[in-house]
């Protein structure tokens, strides 16, 4: 079963790369693989709910330390999010690619499939080594996607992307992994963590900081440069980067390490997470301020993602049940919300080739569905009740209250206000502003209308998804309680 989960996307990738001649069969086959994967991942739920974690050792590169895959609740949730959104992104991708008639699409879908395989690998990693292996695979697989256009700035963006991610991962992450291996002799993810008792508070703090900054994909402030630089990529790639795979993998890694390597109670008693928490808090606010200044739509969304990711890290570092649950929910909610926003940005680009926010006046009338979805997505990101985002923000605030971090609560509320400040004006500009003069002339010729159908449909699905998550909030909460069998 587990082999199928990892093998399927790889097989899909290979199949895709084979039919480079007939685009239709290629798109269908990648779609089918996406759906099959999603069903497969759902198949794991009964066994995980029953409490046993199926494990599988792929190979033994290093004596006593194999490439191990285990399915545990946290990983399963991330896998569901990733595989679910992969389906939507593939549909959207096909529409986008056809719409813009992009070049070498086969390579695009091939790398797409490989990165999803890597994301699944990260989700089900059994020990830190497997996590690191798939983390590197994800970096290398997404590199061709980022430099898809192949022009000068795409290459420059690609170089910063690869440079920062490889340097941080080899420089800090590998070093911290080896250090833990040297101290504890094992790297397996285990309930309650493996470090408690082996290491003092000082080294624990250094280790956790290295892990946090080592995961470049979590975009903590000094190492966030790659995310805006990766905006040169086409929108489905940015969607993949920001919502489905890359950044989510980053924060998920930090979450998994803090829960299964350090152990929640160990972080709480040694206070190892303080540096990382305040770094995340700083990233949170700074990113929101920078997002305000950005006129380019995708740049603004990128900085908003940097901010939202730090919510997850803050939740992880609070080291109490509410914080962790809030962080995990934030992963799901933000994924759903942010992918909607990116789909809208893509749809606007496909329909009107406009990328700057100032050009979006009055498009709301012309593209009602896109802007409505954008509105719902923004609400979910901001965290207002009818959308799923509310739950995660709620639990994060509850977590900070339990941990007695009043300053943190203030910062969280401030950043929510800032979210409102940089998201809602876009919606306002779309609906309430009249079309500018020259566009009005075109309007009669009816050139501006909704993006092609298979761009708009995924939009609406993800928008309804945000609302659905709000309803299923309780179900997710009970599921996450599995993480803490003892409490």
């Amino acid at each position: 079963m587990l082999i199928a989960a990892l093998g399927l996307p790889l097989l899909g990738g290979v199949l895709v790369s084979m039919q480079s001649q007939s685009p239709n069969t290629r798109d269908i086959c990648s779609l089918v693989t996406a759906v099959l994967l999603f069903l497969l991942v759902l198949g794991f739920y009964p066994s995980v709910l029953a409490g046993n974690n199926p494990t599988l050792v792929l190979a033994e590169p290093i004596a006593g330390l194999g490439l191990k895959l285990t399915v545990e609740p946290l990983g399963l949730l991330f896998a569901t999010v990733a595989s679910g959104l992969w389906i939507l992104t593939t549909i959207y991708g096909v529409g986008y690619m056809r719409g813009n008639s992009e070049s070498n699409q086969t390579r695009f879908f091939f790398c797409f499939a490989i990165s999803i395989a890597a994301a699944i690998g990260i989700a089900f990693a059994g020990n830190l080594l497997t996590l690191f292996v798939f983390y590197e695979m994800l970096t290398l697989a997404t590199y061709p996607l980022v430099t898809h256009k192949g022009n000068a700035d795409a290459r420059r963006g690609g170089r910063t992307y690869l440079g920062i991610l490889l340097v941080t991962s080899i420089g800090f992450f590998l070093f911290a992994t080896l250090w833990t291996y040297a101290i504890t002799g094992t790297l397996d993810f285990r309930e309650g963590g493996i470090l408690s008792g082996h290491v003092g508070p000082g080294t624990a703090m250094i280790l956790l900081t290295m892990f946090a900054f080592g995961t470049g994909k979590a975009a903590l402030m000094p190492f966030h440069r790659w995310l805006p630089a990766a905006m040169v990529a086409p929108t489905p790639v940015s969607a993949l980067l920001h919502a489905v795979a890359v950044v989510k993998a980053g924060v998920f890694t930090i979450l998994k390490i803090s829960v299964y390597i350090f152990g929640v109670d160990f972080i709480a008693e040694t206070g190892a997470g303080t540096i990382v928490m305040w770094a995340a808090a700083f990233t949170l606010t700074a990113a929101s301020f920078v997002a305000l200044t950005k006129d380019n739509l995708k740049a603004r969304l990128a900085y908003s993602t940097v901010g939202q990711l730090s919510y997850v890290i803050v939740g992880a570092m609070l080291a109490n049940a509410a914080g962790i649950i809030g962080a995990t929910m934030q992963i799901a909610m933000h994924a759903m919300g942010k992918i909607t926003l990116f789909f809208c940005a893509g749809a606007i680009y496909v329909a009107t080739h406009k990328t700057e926010i100032s050009q979006l006046d009055g498009l709301g009338h012309k593209m009602p569905f896109t802007f409505a979805a954008f509105f719902i997505g923004s609400l979910s990101i901001i965290g207002l009740p009818p959308m799923g985002g509310a739950w995660s923000k709620w639990f994060l605030l509850m977590g900070s209250a339990d941990a007695g971090q009043w300053v943190l609560i203030g910062l969280l509320l401030l950043s929510s206000l800032l979210n409102i400040a940089y998201l809602l004006p876009i919606v306002g500009r779309g609906f309430f502003r009249p079309l500018p003069a020259d566009d009005a002339a075109h309007a009669s010729a009816n050139t501006i209308q909704e993006a092609p159908l298979n761009c708009v449909v995924p939009l609406c699905v993800t928008a309804t998804g945000c609302v659905a998550l709000f309803a299923f909030g309780g179900a997710i909460y009970d599921y996450l309680l599995l993480l803490f069998p003892k409490t």
Binding site: P61, M137, L140, L166, V167, F175, L178, W179
Partner: protein
């Protein structure tokens, strides 16, 4: 037949050499050379099968028992090194035919193959022999054939590089001869196992200490440990194209094997490390070697020089692994011997293919080669990632053991330095990949097209092997682990 295997694995290339020199037609000579190398590789695998799990074979040459006659001793470490030498020699020779064709007259080809086979045979001879003086004799054959191979370089600077290598190599070999003489003077025997029994008793004897000093300096010259490495960059940079692949992969590794064999087996762990404190000398030298070599590699403008300097750096890793004196460190050294040989052979082969087409090894002449020779460059990139130590490649496994070895000893700054140096590797490999893929191609190289399969297949075999041995490490890290434990005297 089976118990004659140690002699057969040596005789195949050694006898193929004179026959090759007699055949005037270049192609037949190549067929014979390739056949003998592949047969020797098969015999080596047979040897490893016999020795798997820690047994040793002793083969009495000429039928005389050891201290009087010469014996061949094969344990897992020597079987691994023999496999390394024979398999990579076979792979490189199958690529050798293409790159030699235009440059030399027919007759010179067969001489070239003869020298190549002699080098392969003598490297096997060094690894397999259990007699100290025999090591000197075969070391001399391998050095002489290496000087001849390097002097065949296209560029006139190859000659001066080969001459300098000859002078330093001969001084090194004579130092080894002096140390063997001293050892013989105080123990009366030349057989390594016999020496191992008698030397510890004489550990405070000045002659033994002097022989230890001379031996280390002599072999350090051959292994190109930091201060004595000056001959290596020029020798590898100007040697004929495909020969560097073979030399880089095996020559220095076998000398490192001799160093390990003598430090641990003949002089014994207590004498060489506790009493003579050789690790206090080796560790700073290897660290300096790694840093300076990697730094110089970054600033090189010539691709082959860059890879040659990176070889010096990687050798520093192996020596550091040996000097760490714990199981993880020694496993790293032995595993890295195999992994680095494989990766460096592939890199030099791919580079040779590109230089063969572009006829210059300067970096800005290789601009845009990624698009013209996609498959070769792809193999180069995979191997380059292996050199950096990206997971799922062989380089990662040995880096992992080395750094965990350093951490086991509690030297965190050393581990940090190792990580830093692998980042330096990232920079200089990235430099080549960046030039190859992202720079526009030069006008006069517009019509460059892919290399012929005879070179492409070995390149890709090396690339796939570097991935395979990143996953299934029973042969490399498994054997290295067992050997490390037996060398350090930890009964597992």
């Amino acid at each position: 037949m089976i118990e004659q295997l140690p002699a057969i694995v040596l005789l195949l290339p050694l006898l193929a050499a004179p026959i090759c020199s007699m055949i005037h037609n270049g192609d037949y000579a190549w067929y014979l050379a390739a056949a003998s190398c592949w047969l020797a590789a098969a015999a080596a695998v047979g040897l490893m099968a016999q020795v798997w799990g820690g047994h040793t074979i002793s083969y009495h040459m000429g039928g005389w028992p050891p201290p009087w006659g010469i014996e061949l001793v094969i344990d897992e470490l020597s079987a691994l090194v023999v496999i390394l030498v024979t398999v990579f020699a076979a792979l490189v020779i199958s690529a050798l035919r293409e790159s030699l064709r235009p440059k030399m007259r027919k007759h010179r080809h067969s001489l070239y193959y003869a020298a190549y086979l002699l080098c392969v045979a003598s490297l096997i001879g060094i690894t397999v022999t259990g007699d100290a003086f025999n090591v000197f004799v075969f070391l001399e054959i391998s050095s002489l054939s290496t000087y001849a191979l390097i002097a065949r370089g296209r560029d006139r600077r190859a000659l001066i590089a080969s001459f300098r290598y000859l002078v330093m190599g001969t001084i090194g070999a004579t130092f080894i001869l002096i140390s063997i003489g001293f050892m013989y003077m105080v123990t009366g025997t030349l057989n390594m196992a016999d020496l191992a029994e008698r030397l510890p008793a004489l550990s405070d004897n000045r002659v033994v200490q002097a022989s230890f000093a001379f031996f280390t300096v002599g072999v350090a010259l051959k292994v190109a440990i930091f201060p004595l490495h000056l001959w290596l960059p020029n020798a590898y940079a100007y040697a004929p194209k495909a020969t560097t692949a073979f030399l880089a992969a095996t020559a220095t590794k076998v000398s490192l094997y001799v160093l390990i064999r003598f430090l641990f087996d003949v002089y014994g762990l207590e004498f060489s490390f506790q009493q003579m404190r050789i690790d206090l000398l080796l560790i700073p030298l290897s660290i300096a070697g790694i840093l300076i070599a990697s730094l110089t590699a970054i600033f090189q403008t010539d691709a082959k020089k860059l890879l040659a300097w990176s070889s010096v750096g990687q050798l520093g890793y192996m020596v550091l692994g040996v000097a760490l004196l714990n199981t993880a460190g020694l496993t790293a050294a032995i595993a890295h011997m195999f992994n680095h040989a494989m990766i460096k052979a592939g890199l030099f082969l791919a580079l040779a293919a590109m230089i063969y087409r572009v006829s210059s090894s300067r970096l800005d002449d290789l601009a845009g080669i990624g698009r013209q020779m996609p498959l070769t460059m792809a193999a180069f990139t995979v191997l380059g990632l292996g050199l950096i130590g990206v997971p799922l490649t062989a380089g990662f496994v040995s880096k992992w053991y080395l750094i965990s070895g350093a951490l086991d000893k509690g030297w965190v700054p050393l581990a940090a330095m190792l990580i830093g140096s692998s980042l330096m590797a990232l920079i200089y490999i990235g430099k080549i990949i960046d030039v190859a893929y992202f720079k526009p191609c030069k006008p006069e190289h517009a019509e460059v097209r892919e290399i012929s399969p005879t070179i492409l297949i070995p390149c890709w075999v090396f690339a796939l092997m570097s991935i395979y041995f990143g996953i299934d490490t029973r042969l490399t890290a498994g054997v290295a682990g067992r050997v490390a434990e037996s060398l350090l005297g930890i009964s597992s």
